[in-house]
Structure formats: C-alpha cells, structure tokens
Symmetry: C2
C-alpha cells in the first residue's frame, strides 16, 4: 500500500495485461467506490517496450525486471499476465513467498501447477485468484466457489475455446471447409499463427481441469483428460447433423458418477434446443447441472483484452477487499485429492457414425449385424447413394459403453463392402 491505496504490479503488457491496465485507469473512480479502497498500478513489467500497443504505459511505471516488481515492498497484488507455465510459475511462486496476493488468467499454469501454488498461497496467507483463466469474462469460477458453493455439481459442459467455436460456427453457417475457415480466422486474428493448442483441444483441456477441480473438488492431471480436436470435422457431418436436429460443437465435458469422474474434450453433436447450441462465434459458455441448482448456464466473451481484463480486474478487487479486511485466504483451494478418472473405454456415450460403403443390397444388414454382435444399439440410420456405386450410411447409436462401439467399428472396418469409416462423433443428448 502507499497512502492507503492498494498497489498493483502487472507482469506482461500484452493483451490481457493491457486490458487490465486500461480498465484500472479508465474506471478508477468507479472501482474505488465499489472496492472501498483506491487501486493503483505501481509498475508494469514487459521484456519488450518497443512493440506497438494500443495503450500506453507512462515511462516511470515501465520495467523489464519482474523481480523488481515482485520485491517492491509497496506492491500488494501481482498480476501475472505473461502466459506459459515456466517463467510464470517462478514469478507467481516468488510473489506468494514475498507475501503478495496473485491474480492470473494463466490457465496452463493453474491447470498444471495449481496443486502446488494454491496450498503455498494458503501457507503464506495470501490469495491466488484466476477467474480469467476459464471463459474470459464469464464469472464461472467465482460462481462455483461462492454462489453455487453449497450445491452438488453432477455435470459441467463447456464451450471454452473461442477459436474452435468460431471455426465451427463459420463452417455451419457458411458451409465452408475447416482449412479455409482456419486460414480466414488466422487472417482476422481469431486464430493464432500456430493454432494447435486451440484446434487440437489442449487449451480446452486446461480449462476443463480447472473447472473440474472447482466443481468436483478433485485435482485432475491434465495429461489424463481425453482429448480430440476439430480438424477432422467436415461440412458433410455438420449438414447431416443439422438434418437430424443437432449442431456440432467442441465440448469440454466433466461428469461425476458416484465416486468417478469422466473428463473429456471432443467435438460432439448437441441437440439444437440445448442452450449451448445457440452459442455462436467467439463466445464461450459453461453449462452446469446438479440436483439442487438444476441447469445453470453462464455465457460471454471467452477472450479479448477488455473482457478477460474485466475478469482479472474483478479478481484484483476481490484481493484488495481481502487485504483491506484482513481476510486473505477466504476462498482457498478446496480440492480433497486426486480425481478418480473413469477410463474412456468405460464411458457411456451415444455416437454419430458416417461411413462410405459399396452400394449393393445387404450391406446395411451386414454392418447392423456386427453392431448388434457388440451390443451397439441403433437409434437411427440414413443411407444415401452417392453415385459411382458408393453409398453413404449415417448411423446414430443409442448410449452405450465406448469400448463396445470401438470393437464394432474395428470389425466393420474389415468388411470388404466398407470403403471407409469417415467420421465418429459422440452425441451429447441429456
């Protein structure tokens, strides 16, 4: 503190650090009124002050030395906005050890190292807040920790990656192929130059690990979460899905069943009536359900300087209130231990399967027989001749164990009349 004003040090003058800086400047008076204490940026650290930015930091606040900020005795709260998990972890650890509260939107670091950072914060009597790490502006983590804290959560389904939701929305609404939409998204800045973490689901996996820890009170090793990206999704599948009343979304799904958790990130067919089906473009949403709370959905921008900056500023205000009231550690980590994860093969799921086959009598029957042999039950089937003696068959299977379907598909693939199993996409129906 300096003159009764809370002092903030921001590490990283990038998108989110910049968003936070602008909000703290522009809304300073409003923030002082709601927080009942002034909040001031004392220092901003970045390794490159030559880079063009759409906001400017006064030269006397700039530094390139993170430890100068972390060790400044006047600074109360460190905002880590550099991203990545290595240097960020060192800085956050040092800040906690220096007795500062920490705010970070860094999903990778929290997902991977939360189990180390959060107890350390407890030991040092400081807060670590990370609302911006999942769903940008969406107030989902604080809602799980506070408003819904009493409730048993049975399931969380999230659209938590804006890049993939933008791509799938464009593919759905314009009928464009994945590669073309991705290239356009990269030109427009909706996708990174290296989009792997987004399109292959790694980003969503980190967010699901954080959501699951808060919703189910269990630590989840990110490597153990099942993951499938969207690069194999085609306009053909999107169109078939539409015909049978579904949209295709990349979902992060966490389900509690007894003492086991099912955690998975994959594309899925979602009924058009589902509240998540209407989440378009770069928007994110998290759907939460349980026996007491019923169905709750929280929706908003999952990225961007000001939306994520708003989430980070909310955390800063929370930490500031705790400093003023001496109540740091008021909402600590409440994980009880490691999650007991159900293997993917044991998960019960419905599925959509598209295959191309030789267009001749008896083929559908032969395939259906193999499905039946593995106890895979068929909900609906469409067969369409696509010319050249080739037909396309689209199946929707009833809910059943994943391993039964996989066994049936291995057998079906070997049939001489089956040219290719083109797509297997799970269906989320409840």
């Amino acid at each position: 503190m300096r003159d009764g004003i809370i002092q903030i040090g921001i590490l990283g003058a990038g998108v989110v650090g910049g968003g936070l800086y602008q909000i703290l400047q522009k809304n300073a008076e409003h923030i002082e009124q709601v927080a009942e204490v002034g909040i001031e940026v004392a220092a901003v650290c970045d390794i490159d002050w030559e880079r063009p930015r759409d906001f400017s930091v006064p030269p006397d606040l700039r530094t390139t030395d993170a430890y100068e900020v972390i060790n400044d005795p006047d600074i109360d709260i460190i905002v880590e906005a550099i991203g990545g998990s290595e240097a960020a972890l060192d800085y956050v650890t040092a800040a906690i050890q220096a007795g500062k509260s920490v705010v970070t939107p860094n999903k990778e670091m929290i997902a991977r190292h939360g189990e180390q950072i959060l107890p350390l914060a407890g030991q040092h009597g400081v807060d670590v807040q990370f609302e911006g790490s999942v769903g940008g502006v969406i107030p989902v983590l604080r809602s799980l920790k506070e408003s819904l804290a009493s409730a048993q959560i049975d399931q969380i389904i999230g659209i938590v990656n804006g890049t993939t939701n933008y791509i799938l929305t464009e593919m759905t609404e314009a009928g464009t192929r994945f590669a073309e939409v991705l290239a356009a998204a990269q030109r427009e800045g909706y996708a990174e130059a290296d989009p792997t973490a987004d399109i292959e689901g790694t980003d969503a996996v980190n967010k699901l690990a954080i959501l699951a820890a808060l919703a189910f009170g269990a630590r989840v090793p990110v490597e153990e979460i099942y993951r499938e990206g969207i690069s194999q999704i085609t306009p053909t599948d999107i169109d078939y899905a539409r015909q049978i009343g579904y949209v295709i979304k990349l979902l992060a799904i966490g389900t509690r069943d007894g003492d086991q958790l099912e955690l998975r990130v994959h594309p899925a067919l979602l009924p058009v009536q589902h509240p998540l089906a209407a989440v378009r473009g770069v928007f994110n949403a998290i759907f939460i359900s349980g026996p007491e709370c019923g169905e709750v959905m929280l929706y908003g921008r999952g990225a961007g300087a000001l939306p994520t900056g708003t989430a980070v500023a909310g955390d800063v205000i929370d930490c500031a209130r705790n400093i003023v009231h001496g109540s740091q550690g008021r909402t600590p980590c409440s994980c009880e231990g490691e999650a007991n994860l159900r293997p993917m093969g044991e998960i019960e799921s419905s599925a959509y399967v598209r295959m191309s086959v030789t267009d001749q009598p008896g083929v559908l029957g032969r395939i259906a027989t193999l499905l039946g042999r593995e106890s895979v039950s068929i909900e609906s089937v469409i067969q369409k001749s696509s010319g050249n003696e080739v037909a396309e068959i689209v199946w929707v299977m009833h809910k059943g164990p994943e391993r039964h379907l996989q066994a049936a598909l291995r057998a079906i693939e070997k049939l001489d009349v089956v040219e290719q199993i083109c797509s297997v996409i799970r269906v989320v129906d409840e």
Copy 2:
C-alpha cells in the same frame, strides 16, 4: 457460534426456507469443506407447523416465535424466508440490530427497503446478502458485485419472472390463448392463485430495481419504474412476430445513457437470434452489456425450493466466511444516490403496432401520413384482409421517441377507417 460451528436461524419454513434447510442437511459435509467451517441450523420459525411439507424439521428446532430466534445469542446468521415486506422488514431490522448477518431472498423487501436496511447493516458491521431475490439460482448479484465489479454496465435485460415466461412460451409453442394457459399454469403450480404480481409485472419491477441498484450504483424507487404486464398479448401477435423474426418476452430493461437511467418492464419483441430468445418455460436469464465486459448472459431456474435454496445457501456460506475471517461488510451497498430516471415519453424505442381497419383503398396511406406527421418512421408493414371488409395492418416502426408514437396513435385512433388499435408492443433490437 456453538462449538466452533456457525449457527443459522431460519424464519419461514415455506418453499425457500425448506429448500435451504434440506440443502444444509444433505450437503452438510461438502459445505463444511468448502466454507472451512461447520454450518448448522439452530432454529426454524414458522407460524404454522401443522401445514403439510415435503421435508421435516425436528421438533426441538421448531418455534413460532421469530424474536426467540433473532435474539438467540448463539445464532450468527438469520435467514428471512417469510416473504412480504412488512413483518420481514421488522425481523431483518431487529436481526441487524442484534448483530446478526442476514440472508434474504425477499425481492419486495430489498427493492422497497434496501436503502434503509443496507446502511443499517453497515453501521452494525454485519452482512445483508440477497442473491436469491433475483433470478433464483442465477448468480447475477454476486457477479455484479464481484466478478464484473470493475466494469461499466450500460444495459441489463432480464427475463426475471418464470410464470410469465412459462405462459408466453406455452402461447408461442402451442398457440394457446393467455387465459387458458394461465388457468393451466395455476393448476400445475406454475402460477399463483392470485397471479397479479407476476402477470402485471410487479414482481419483475422489484427485481429490476435490485438489478439496477447493483449495476448502475443508484437507488430506484420501484413506483417510478414503468410497468406493463402480459395479459394483453395474443397468439395473433406472437404469430405475426414469429413471421418477422421475433419472439415476445416480458423483459425487465435497465439502460444507462449518460447520467440518466431508463427502467421499464414490458412485453417486447426480441429477435430470435438474441440469446434471451431461447430462454423457455420457467427459466430466467439476465443479459448484461457494457464497453468492457461485452455481452454476458446468466441463465437458470428463477424459482423453486432447491434452486433458490442454493442461492440462499451460497449467501449463508458467504456470511459464514466473513464471520470466520472477521470481514463482515466486505461487499457493502455501493449506491451513490437516487437514480435520475428518464420519463417514459422520452425513451427511444422501436414498436410493433397491429390495428384493424376498413378494407378499402387509401387507408394505409392515410395512416402512414399521420405517422409521418409525428416523425414516426416505418420499418416494415404487412396488410392482410381478414374478410368482412376488415383488414389487419401490422407495422414495425423504426426507433424513435415513445411520445411521437403515442401522439401518432392518438391521431390514428380517431380516423373513421380505423376500427381498433389492437396491440402496441415495443421492439428490443440491439
């Protein structure tokens, strides 16, 4: 406290009090873990213990004397769940004066007497929390006070009354008339025996006053909020709206424009693509927008024992954390003063107008001339002959001052060729 366990007194063993009681029993272990303190019900007060209930309270916890609960020195938190604004206000005032934190889902009391209760809580160093008063389980108030606390909010649009949303959804999906759906809703328990407060918008007005106070930091006298109910809405209007891409919803709208606020509850045409348009049945949702947060929507069950009980239990946990950490008053009332309300006539709005006219040439032109004379600009018009020399004309007007439209309609009503102005429903288009 008793033996280090937070003691709760519940006033009112009705729907919400019962929901809370059940959650605190069933999830006691989970709640103790997340709150880091045990939470126990010490007493439940109700005037009628003979009434049949789907939960049971042990006889030694039952009382009929509210002040016995309020004045019990072991009790830390009073939950007021009796409803109404008179006795409830007395009890809450007494509880605050006795140094207890208070949790209440009572929208009427908070909307009418918040400006008296909240400062009193501040003077006595206790909390008053009321998340359950708006949107049931939806974590909207805490999100406004905490996660979105830094952001400037420009607009809040809420579907905050489940009864009317259920009725409008049924009218839309089954084409049934208002009176029939209301009667069915009363039989099924979705509408009260006296549904006036719901269908005439009074309930929504109370909730809007609370939302506006938190979003805009200004106290709002509920009597000054413009209010219109849904009893005049017909399947005919719902059907015309659908044809031009809209659904009809009862909306609670709060808009900030400079230093003025526009606050109103009325049915409105909402574009089918709007996230609120998909909110069906008894569900509620609140759509929040501003320059930093962008568009945020929070969705869930707006009523019911367990959903509202979850919100109340979240508040109880919040109060308990503050008691344990000595941080009561951490998120106090932050209203700066009375709202500066814009008169309804000055509000700019689009409108849908349906009228029946004599089916003869020149009528549409005469009406359009009168609209033009009052500077009301037409976006679209549909004219349909309905037989018997009567035609129906449906207009959608461009956005303009409310008083221009009203002046034009007064003039149009006097035309001999106009049989009736059947409906005037505002359009919410942004």
